[in-house]
Amino acid sequence: MTRETFAKVAALVRVTLGVRPDVLVAEDSHFADDFRADEMDIAQLVLDVERAFRVEIVEDIAERCFTVGALCEAVDQALARKAEAA
């Protein structure tokens, strides 16, 4: 994943999931285990990420995004697909 993708996704994770400033958001941070996010929180996060990056993440992939790193990878894949299509 790119550093830019991670920084933007991490910022969205903080806002959407309400992660406190003193809590680290890392690549391997688990949405449910580390931030107590439920399935709907994650769905909202995916929507927020899609809007921020102007991409659409394939639903099957979105369902498997349990960590920040996985979501970043999904974003990068969506960006790559978008670039190919352009």
């Binding site: 107590r36 399935e39 769905a43 909202q44």
Partner: protein
């Protein structure tokens, strides 16, 4: 940790307007019997609404038909192959595996599904809507339904359209 914030709290007027839009959308994806399975992600994309608001509105819809995986495994929903619970037992939440081909049955299930209170979603509990039937999550129309998934009909329950819980009031 996640917290509720003002952006998730619809006013009563916004709720009623949003519920009408939601119902209109759900009718577009329902089959000939008025049934559907849809993910919050898909609804959120279609309506541009926050998924927690959608969940609240979905919770106020009547479950005149419920579709629940019977026993273990996952069921692929095609046509009329809908699975209905045979009793009020809590659905098995064992890890999903491919369905082995057991017979599915269709049934019109009128509320009173006590196992629906087994929903573990934090906001449902916090909203106090847990006892009411509501759609479960992350399935798309024509896709796979997991054990415990529910397909609801499109009727609203006026008696449930009570004042919004305090935490949702702005």
């Amino acid at each position: 940790m996640p917290t509720f914030n003002a952006s998730r709290r619809p006013s009563t007027a916004a709720h009623n307007a949003g519920a009408a839009v939601l119902l209109a959308y759900l009718r577009t994806i329902a089959d000939a019997h008025g049934r559907f399975v849809v993910s919050h992600l898909a609804i959120g994309r279609a309506l541009g609404e926050r998924v927690h608001t959608i969940e609240y509105r979905l919770s106020l819809l009547r479950a005149t038909r419920a579709v629940v995986g019977e026993g273990k495994g996952r069921a692929r929903i095609t046509g009329d192959e809908f699975v209905a619970p045979t009793d009020n037992s809590k659905p098995d939440r064992t890890p999903p595996s491919r369905h082995s081909g057991a017979r599915f049955r269709e049934a019109a299930v009128q509320t009173e599904l006590s196992w629906l209170s087994s929903c573990s979603y934090r906001n449902c509990r916090e909203l106090g809507i847990e006892p009411y039937p509501h759609i479960l999550h992350n399935r798309t129309l024509g896709g796979e339904a997991g054990v415990g998934d529910v397909v609801i009909s499109l009727a609203r329950i006026p008696s449930l359209e009570r004042p919004l819980p305090e935490i949702w009031r702005s």
